[in-house]
């Protein structure tokens, strides 16, 4: 576990550090499906925010809009301090690696697209690989790695630009329980030590409670926010937190909100 690195500011520091705001954002697909309707969401700096909801509630769409993939049909996306390429790291549900490139080249990609050659940024790529524990695998090809390792490569690639905001779209949904728990722990450690903001899309109540400082629960048809839960438990969180009574209470509360969301839909 990480040494007790200063936990990122929790609810206290929130009014000062607004990173991003979605103001009345709506999104209608060309086939007429309303994916999001009047979505208002404030993202604080350094928070770990989870978007939780059933399939089709627009949580992935919201994430893509924040990433700048695809247009919005109404409302606006507001970055108080401005935002630009490289400030955002994105982790997809699948590892989304280039099968023809080595682990090193896959992680190097975001920097290469900014015109930075291999030699120039070798250290940064190695550093990102070390963060996810894959320093010995830079010459491997994706097919030689397990599912969990591929996901780690994908995370290293998102980290290599030293982003302010990390967007994760159900990154561990396809992994087995044991790998998922391990990656959850590692992700939390990294988040604590690096001080990014994370927006994490998931449909797992347990995962969201364990990781987040705040959970936003969404409902489908049309995609909207139906509840918000502060997880006011201190970091670092570990196995002890998973066994604790507050954890269970938060899980129950989150679960109830989610059920209400699904009942409404």
């Amino acid at each position: 576990m990480a040494a007790a690195a200063a936990p990122p500011p929790q609810p206290a520091g929130r009014s000062s550090g607004r990173l991003l705001e979605l103001q009345g954002v709506s999104k209608t697909f060309s086939n007429g499906t309303v994916a999001l309707e009047n979505l208002n969401l404030r993202v604080q700096r350094h928070e770990f925010l989870s978007l939780l909801g059933p399939s089709g509630c627009g949580k992935s769409t919201a994430l893509r809009i924040i990433a700048g993939l695809g247009n919005i049909s109404g409302g606006r996306l507001f970055w108080p301090e401005g935002g630009h390429v490289g400030d955002i790291g994105f982790v997809f549900q699948e590892p989304t690696l280039m099968p023809w490139a080595t682990v090193f080249d896959n992680v190097h990609l975001p920097l290469k697209l900014q015109g930075q050659g291999r030699r120039q940024v070798r250290d940064r790529v190695e550093e990102a690989l070390a963060m996810v524990g894959l320093q010995d695998f830079h010459a491997a090809y994706p097919r030689e790695l397990s599912g969990g390792m591929k996901m780690r490569v994908s995370i290293a690639r998102a980290l290599v630009t030293r982003p302010k905001l990390l967007l994760m779209d159900e990154p561990f949904a396809a992994l087995d329980e044991i790998t998922r728990i391990r990656l959850n722990n590692d992700l939390l450690q990294l988040w604590e030590s690096q001080g990014w903001t994370v927006i994490f899309v998931t449909h797992s109540v347990y995962e969201s409670v364990f990781l987040s400082s705040r959970i936003v629960v969404m409902a489908a048809r049309p995609g909207r926010i139906v509840g918000e839960i502060e997880i006011d438990a201190p970091y670092p969180r570990d196995e002890a937190f998973r066994m604790s009574e507050p954890y269970n209470a938060y899980c129950r509360e989150t679960s109830a909100t989610l059920h209400r969301a699904m009942g409404d839909g």
């Binding site: 893509r64 990433a67 700048g68 993939l69 390429v85 490289g86 955002i88 994105f90 997809f92 699948e94 989304t96 280039m98 099968p99 023809w100 490139a101 990609l109 975001p110 290469k112 697209l113 900014q114 090809y141 994706p142 097919r143 630009t161």
Partner: protein, 287 residues
Amino acid sequence: MSTMIEDDRIVGLQDEAIARAAEAAEKRDRVLRWAMPVSLIIAVLAVWEFGVWYHGTPHYILPGPWLVIKTLFTDWHTLYPSLLVTLQITFSALAIAIIGGVGLAVLFTLSKWVELSLFPFAVIAQVTPIIAVAPLILIYVDSTYAALLLCAWIVAFFPILSNTTLGLNSADHNLVNLFQLYGANRWQMLRYLRLPSAMPYFLGGLKIAGGLALIGAIVAEFAAGTAGTGSGLAYRILEASYRLNIPRMFASLILISLSGILIFFAFTLLSHLMLRKWHESALKREN
């Protein structure tokens, strides 16, 4: 039933013995893979040779395989230059087909309108039998060499164009999103994502196009006939048929087949070397 009995016996063996048995089976498999087709070919040739000898068939009707092989050596001074001419046309046409096919495929992905306007022409060129078009091409194109090249190019061009176009459009959508997210421009998207994605498709097209270029070259030579200045292998076949020199016809045929086989294997090898690190087609299944 028999497999069950066999299974029981294997279960009874020691681990080491099992490993050794598996190794032996693999070795036998490898030997048989070559031995079976080779011995079959030899058997067919032997029956042919025997039949010709037994019936006393004259060589201007059907020469035995031994005579064909002898002719290959005795007529080498005529056949070899012709082989070179045919191969030169084949590979020049193929080279132009690669440049043109890949270039046009890239243009197609850059502009939908270019694709919509030009693709019908490519299809027309592909579906019209080259043997029917060759005489016209020979009339309109002054240089016979250029006409032959054009014919071979027309047939070799399409598989490369259509395969590469398919490949360029087959890039993983999530990767396209990722590239977009990191602000990749069109050129970077092409260079780092679309071209590598298209590589297996292109190599598949190349394997087909290699054989087709040879066929195109031969067909065009036939259409040009003895009137042409070309002296490729097809011309040798025509010439030999007028003189009832059947052994030389067979010898020329063998050279054409061998060229086709070599081209195919060369591109298969190339494809394997380029994809072995990552593409499913070149990987061994691990179970």
